[in-house]
C-alpha cells in the first residue's frame, strides 16, 4: 500500500506530468484563441477554459480534450506534490519553492474568481441612479406582485430554470404565494419580437400580431437578447393568459388576477449593491481634431446608509468600496454627435481575490530573482574561473 502511495505521489509530482500538463494547457489556449474568431469569447471561455472536458471540433471528427479547469486543477496538484512537498529542500531550491508558492496563489485567485465572484455593468445617463448592477450575459425572469399597500413582493427565476430540460419543450414555475403556475415555452438566448405579416407563416404562437423569432447567438454574447413565451395556468379563465417577454421590452407584462396585480419582466440578471451610484456628470474628451477618445470621466455621488459622497471614476482609476470595485468601462451611444446626450457604463466586480494576483506577482518575481540570480552568479564564477 505504501509502495503504491509512493508511486502515485511520484507520478503526481513528476516533471513528466508537469510538462504534459503545460503542453496540454498550451494546446487548449491555442485552440481556444483560434476558436474565438468563429465562436466568440463567451462561448470559448465556457467551452475551453471553464470546463473539465470538451470536444474540439476538427471538421469530420471531434477531438476529446480535458478542459482548462481539469488541467489547472491537476497542475495545482502537481505543483503542490512535486514543487513544494517532494522537491529537495536545499538552499538552491528556495527560490523555486517561492515561485511555486506564488503560482499556487495565482491559481487560487483564479479559482476564487471563478467560484465566488460576480460581475456586471451599470449604465447611467446623467441624473440617473442605480443600486444594482446587471450581468451582461445572463437573464432572469422577475415576477413582482404589487400590493395595494405599495409593497412589492418579488420572485426571481434564474436563467437555468427557464431553459427546459433536454427532451422537454416547456418549464412550469410554481411559487409559494403565486395564485397561478407560470409556463415558460420557447426560451431563446437570442431572439427578436417581430410582427407577423400576411405572406408568411410561423411555427410559434402569434400574440396580438407579434411573434418571437429565434436567432443564432451573437459572437459577442452581451449582444444577445433573450425572449420567451409565458402562459399563466390555473387563473380560472377559459383561455390561459399568454404573453411574449423579451429582454429589450420597454415595459414589463402586467396581469391582474382576483384583485392582485403582477408584472413579468425578462431582464438581465441583477445583483444588489450595498450603495447606490448617481451619475452627476460624464465627460468624454477626444484628442483634438479627432474622434479618438483621450479620456472618460464620471463624477458620481455614492449614496450609502446615511451618507453621501462625491467621487470621480475615470479610466484606470476605479472606485473600491464595500468589497465592490466600480470601473469606468465604456460610454455611448456609439457614433453620437457632438451635442448628443451620452451615457456612462461602469463595470462592477465583486471579487474576494481582487488583489491576490498582485501579491502573487510580487512573490513570483522575488522567487525568480532569487533562483535565477543564484544561477547567474554561479555561471559568472565558473566563467571567471575558466578564464
Amino acid at each position: 500500500m505504501h509502495a503504491l502511495w509512493q508511486r502515485v505521489a511520484s507520478l503526481a509530482g513528476s516533471l513528466g506530468l508537469s510538462c504534459s500538463l503545460l503542453l496540454l494547457l498550451g494546446l487548449l489556449t491555442w485552440l481556444g484563441t483560434l476558436e474565438q474568431a468563429r465562436s466568440g469569447l463567451y462561448e470559448v471561455q465556457r467551452k475551453y477554459f471553464e470546463s473539465f472536458v470538451l470536444l474540439h471540433d476538427l471538421g469530420p471528427v471531434s477531438l476529446p480534450l480535458p478542459g482548462a479547469n481539469l488541467v489547472l486543477s491537476l497542475l495545482a496538484l502537481n505543483l503542490i506534490v512535486g514543487g513544494m512537498l517532494r522537491i529537495a529542500k536545499r538552499r538552491s531550491t528556495v527560490g523555486v519553492m517561492i515561485v511555486h508558492a506564488g503560482i499556487l496563489l495565482m491559481l487560487a485567485a483564479g479559482f476564487a474568481k471563478w467560484r465566488f465572484s460576480s460581475d456586471g455593468q451599470i449604465t447611467l445617463y446623467e441624473g440617473q441612479r442605480a443600486a444594482h448592477f446587471e450581468d451582461p450575459y445572463r437573464y432572469e425572469l422577475s415576477i413582482v406582485e404589487h400590493r395595494e399597500s405599495g409593497e412589492r413582493l418579488e420572485y426571481r427565476v434564474p436563467q437555468e430554470t427557464l431553459v427546459p430540460p433536454r427532451g422537454a419543450e416547456r418549464v412550469r414555475l410554481r411559487g409559494e404565494g403565486l395564485p397561478f403556475v407560470v409556463e415558460v415555452a420557447g426560451y431563446a438566448r437570442n431572439a427578436r419580437v417581430q410582427r407577423k405579416g400576411p405572406r408568411f407563416e410561423v411555427a410559434v404562437p402569434v400574440l396580438e400580431g407579434l411573434f418571437l423569432q429565434q436567432l443564432e447567438p451573437e459572437l459577442a454574447a452581451e449582444r444577445n437578447i433573450a425572449g420567451a413565451y409565458l402562459k399563466l395556468l390555473g387563473t380560472g379563465s377559459d383561455e390561459p393568459p399568454q404573453a411574449i417577454v423579451w429582454g429589450a421590452q420597454a415595459q414589463p407584462w402586467s396581469f391582474r388576477s382576483a384583485g392582485r396585480s403582477f408584472s413579468f419582466d425578462l431582464r438581465r440578471e441583477r445583483h444588489a449593491m450595498p450603495f447606490a451610484i448617481e451619475l452627476d456628470d460624464f465627460a468624454k474628451l477626444d484628442h483634438p481634431g479627432t474622434a479618438l477618445p483621450a479620456s472618460f470621466t464620471s463624477d458620481v455621488t455614492v449614496h450609502a446608509a446615511g451618507s453621501e459622497s462625491a467621487l470621480r471614476i475615470s479610466m484606470n482609476e476605479p472606485l473600491r468600496r464595500d468589497g465592490l470595485v466600480v470601473y469606468q468601462a465604456s460610454w455611448g451611444p456609439q457614433g453620437a454627435g457632438a451635442n448628443a446626450r451620452l451615457f456612462s457604463t461602469f463595470a462592477v466586480v465583486r471579487n474576494p481575490a481582487d488583489q491576490w494576483p498582485l501579491y502573487s506577482c510580487i512573490v513570483i518575481t522575488l522567487g525568480m530573482l532569487l533562483h535565477f540570480g543564484r544561477k547567474l552568479r554561479t555561471a559568472l564564477r565558473l566563467q571567471a574561473a575558466l578564464r
Binding site: L23, T29, L292, C361, F372
Partner: protein, 591 residues
C-alpha cells in the same frame, strides 16, 4: 471695417484659389532649400497631436507612393515637403508627379485605363489616373462596404488607391493641414483644436470673426500664395509666417518637442543603425570564413555597438518627443525588441567571447530594423500617434508593456540562437566545435531564463492593469492568451530540460519552435480580428508571418532529423569496439 472684412475674405478666397490659378502656369521655379526647411518646420495638428509639417508630408507621400521621395518628369529627385508645396501652390506639376503606387496593373484594366509602358507594380501620376477616377470612387464605394477579408487582391488594391487619391485631394483642398493655432487664453475643446486653412475659410464664410492674431496668419498665408513664383520672396514670406505663428502660446509650447522631432528625423539614427548592423553582419560572415582575422570580429562587435547606440538614441528621442515610455505602438515594439535583443546578445558575447553571439547580434539588429522599416512603409502612418484613453498611462506602459516586450525579445533571441545551433548541428559546420555548441547551449539556457522572468512578470502585470481598467484580471483575450502561451512554452522547455526530456539539442529545437509562439503572440493574434488587441493590421504581415512559421518549422524538422541521426551514430559507436564518444545517458539534472 466691413470693407476691410470683405477685402480679407476676398484675399483668402484668392489664396485658396491660388492652386487653381497656378494650374495655368506651365512651369515654376524650384523651392529654395531655406523654404523647404522653413515649411517643414511649421507646426501642424494631425491625429490629435502636434508635429512638424515635414512629418505630415513624409507620411503622406509614403502612404501615396511607398517612398518618402519621388522623381519628377525632369528626372530630379524631390522630397516630401517639396511635393506638399507643389500640391498646394503648383497642383498641375504635382498632378504630373508619379506618386500613386499601384501594386497590380490589373487594377488599371478594372478602371478601363490604358497606360502602356508601365510595369506590373508601378507608380502613376494623378494626371494619368484622372480619367478613371469616377469609376475608381464608384467601385471603391462598393468594395469598401465588403469585409476586408472578403475582398480580392484587386478589390483591396482599388480601395487603397481610392484612399490615396482622396488623401491627395484633401491635401490639395488644404483640409488636412491644420496649421492655424487656437487663440491664446481659450478654454474647452476649441482651445485645443488647430484649424486647417479650408476650415478657417469655411468659418469666415459663415460670418465668424477671427481674432486679430488669426487675421495676421491669414494675411501671411495670403502673401505666400501671391509670391509663389518668386522663390526668394516666398522664402521671406514663409519666415514672416513663422514670426506670426510664434505669437501664439500653443506654438511656443509645442516648439520644443516639434524641434526634437525634426532632429529625430533629420539625423536618421535608425538608418545609421540599420547600416551599422548590415555591415557588421557582412563582416561577421567574412569572419566565419576567415577566423584567423581577429580584427574582423572586433570590427563586428564595434559596428554592433555603434548600431545599438544609434538605436538606443532613436528610442530615447522618441520617448522625449512624446513624453512616453519606450513602447506604446506595434512599431515601437519592433525597435525595442531589436534593441533588447542586440544588447542581450552583445552581453552574451562579452560573457563567453565565442563570436557566435556577436554574429547573432548583427543579424538580429539588421533583421529587426528591416522589419521596422518594412512595417513603417506598409502601414504608412505616423509612428508616434495619440493613444486611446485606456493606453494613456505611463505607469502601465512603463511596467507591463516594457516587461512583456523584453519577454518577446528574449523568446525571439532564444529562437535565433536555437536555430543557429540546429543548423550548425545538422550541417556539421566545421567552424562550430563542441566548445561552441556548449557555449550556445549555455547562452540559450540563460536567455530562456531571462525571458521567462520578463514574460511571467509582464503577463501578470498585464492582468493587474486589466483588473485596474476593466475589473477583470484575466479575460482569455487573444493577446493575453498569446502571452500565456509564451510563458507556458518557456516553462515547458525549462521543465523538460530539468526532467531530462530535452537535452542540449532538444532545448535548441524547442527554442526554435518557441519563436513561432512569440510571433503568434506578437503579430498573429492581432490578425485574428477579435479581442481587445486587434490593431496594427496591415496587409502583407500575414504572408511574412506565415513565412516565419514555415522557416522555423523547417528548422525544427531539421533539428529533429539531426538529433535522430546523431543518436543513431552514437548508438553505432557504443556498439562498436571504441565507445566513449556518446552523449551522457538521460537523467534528471540538478535544479
Amino acid at each position: 471695417m466691413k470693407l476691410a472684412w470683405r477685402l480679407l475674405l476676398l484675399a483668402c478666397a484668392v489664396w485658396l484659389c491660388a492652386p487653381l490659378l497656378a494650374a495655368q502656369q506651365a512651369a515654376r521655379a524650384p523651392w529654395t532649400p531655406r523654404s523647404i526647411e522653413a515649411a517643414g518646420s511649421l507646426i501642424v495638428q494631425e491625429g490629435g497631436r502636434l508635429k512638424p509639417l515635414s512629418t505630415l508630408a513624409n507620411f503622406t507621400l509614403l502612404r501615396l507612393s511607398g517612398r518618402r521621395s519621388y522623381t519628377d518628369a525632369q528626372g530630379v529627385r524631390r522630397g516630401a515637403v517639396e511635393f506638399l508645396l507643389d500640391v498646394l501652390y503648383f497642383p498641375k506639376q504635382a498632378a504630373e508627379a508619379p506618386v500613386f503606387l499601384v501594386n497590380d496593373s490589373a487594377l488599371l484594366q478594372t478602371l478601363e485605363l490604358e497606360l502602356p509602358g508601365k510595369q506590373k507594380r508601378d507608380r502613376y501620376s494623378f494626371h494619368e489616373l484622372e480619367p478613371g477616377l469616377p469609376r475608381l470612387f464608384a467601385l471603391a464605394h462598393d468594395y469598401g462596404a465588403l469585409d476586408p477579408k472578403q475582398r480580392s487582391s484587386v478589390q483591396g488594391e482599388l480601395v487603397l488607391l481610392a484612399e490615396r487619391v482622396d488623401a491627395f485631394l484633401r491635401l490639395n483642398r488644404q483640409e488636412s493641414i491644420a496649421l492655424i493655432p487656437p487663440d491664446d487664453g481659450g478654454s474647452g475643446e476649441q482651445a485645443q483644436t488647430w484649424l486647417s486653412p479650408a476650415f478657417a475659410f469655411a468659418a469666415l464664410s459663415r460670418g465668424e470673426t477671427p481674432s486679430a492674431a488669426r487675421q495676421r496668419v491669414f494675411a501671411a498665408l495670403d502673401a505666400m500664395a501671391n509670391t509663389r513664383h518668386e522663390p526668394r520672396v516666398f522664402e521671406a514670406r514663409l519666415e514672416q509666417l513663422h514670426e506670426v505663428l510664434g505669437g501664439f502660446a500653443a506654438v511656443r509650447e509645442a516648439s520644443g518637442s516639434v524641434e526634437l522631432e525634426r532632429f529625430y528625423y533629420r539625423i536618421n539614427a535608425l538608418g545609421w543603425s540599420l547600416g551599422s548592423f548590415t555591415i557588421a553582419f557582412l563582416v561577421a560572415a567574412v569572419g566565419w570564413i576567415r577566423p584567423a582575422w581577429h580584427w574582423l570580429h572586433r570590427s563586428c562587435v564595434a559596428l554592433c555597438a555603434c548600431g545599438t547606440l544609434a538605436l538606443v538614441l532613436a528610442i530615447v528621442l522618441r520617448c522625449l518627443i512624446r513624453a512616453r515610455p519606450p513602447v506604446s505602438t506595434l512599431y515601437e515594439t519592433v525597435l525595442f525588441i531589436t534593441a533588447v535583443g542586440v544588447i542581450v546578445a552583445l552581453g552574451l558575447e562579452w560573457f563567453n567571447r565565442q563570436r557566435l553571439a556577436a554574429s547573432v547580434a548583427a543579424f538580429a539588429g539588421m533583421l529587426g530594423l528591416f522589419i521596422a522599416n518594412g512595417y513603417e512603409t506598409l502601414d504608412a502612418k505616423d509612428t508616434m500617434p495619440s493613444l486611446v484613453a485606456v493606453l494613456d498611462t505611463n505607469f502601465w506602459l512603463a511596467t507591463h508593456v516594457t516587461a512583456i516586450t523584453i519577454g518577446y525579445s528574449a523568446g525571439l533571441l532564444a529562437a535565433l540562437l536555437g536555430s543557429v545551433y540546429v543548423i550548425a548541428k545538422a550541417l556539421r559546420l566545421a567552424r562550430v566545435g563542441p566548445e561552441q555548441f556548449r557555449a550556445l547551449g549555455g547562452m540559450l539556457y540563460g536567455v530562456l531564463c531571462f525571458g521567462l522572468i520578463f514574460s511571467i512578470v509582464g503577463t501578470i502585470l498585464g492582468g493587474i492593469w486589466a483588473n485596474e481598467s476593466w475589473g477583470r484580471f484575466w479575460g482569455w483575450d487573444p493577446k493575453e492568451n498569446g502571452a500565456l502561451l509564451i510563458v507556458i512554452s518557456q516553462l515547458a522547455i525549462l521543465h523538460g530540460r530539468l526532467g531530462g526530456f530535452l537535452r542540449e539539442a532538444g532545448v535548441a529545437v524547442a527554442a526554435a519552435a518557441g519563436g513561432c509562439v512569440v510571433a503568434f503572440s506578437w503579430w498573429g493574434v492581432n490578425l485574428l480580428g477579435v479581442g481587445l488587441h486587434s490593431y496594427g493590421f496591415t496587409s502583407g504581415i500575414q504572408s511574412a508571418l506565415s513565412s516565419y512559421y514555415g522557416l522555423q518549422g523547417g528548422v525544427v524538422l531539421l533539428g529533429l532529423w539531426a538529433i535522430r541521426r546523431d543518436r543513431r551514430a552514437a548508438r553505432a559507436v557504443l556498439a562498436g569496439p571504441a565507445s566513449g564518444a556518446a552523449e551522457p545517458p538521460r537523467g534528471r539534472r540538478a535544479a
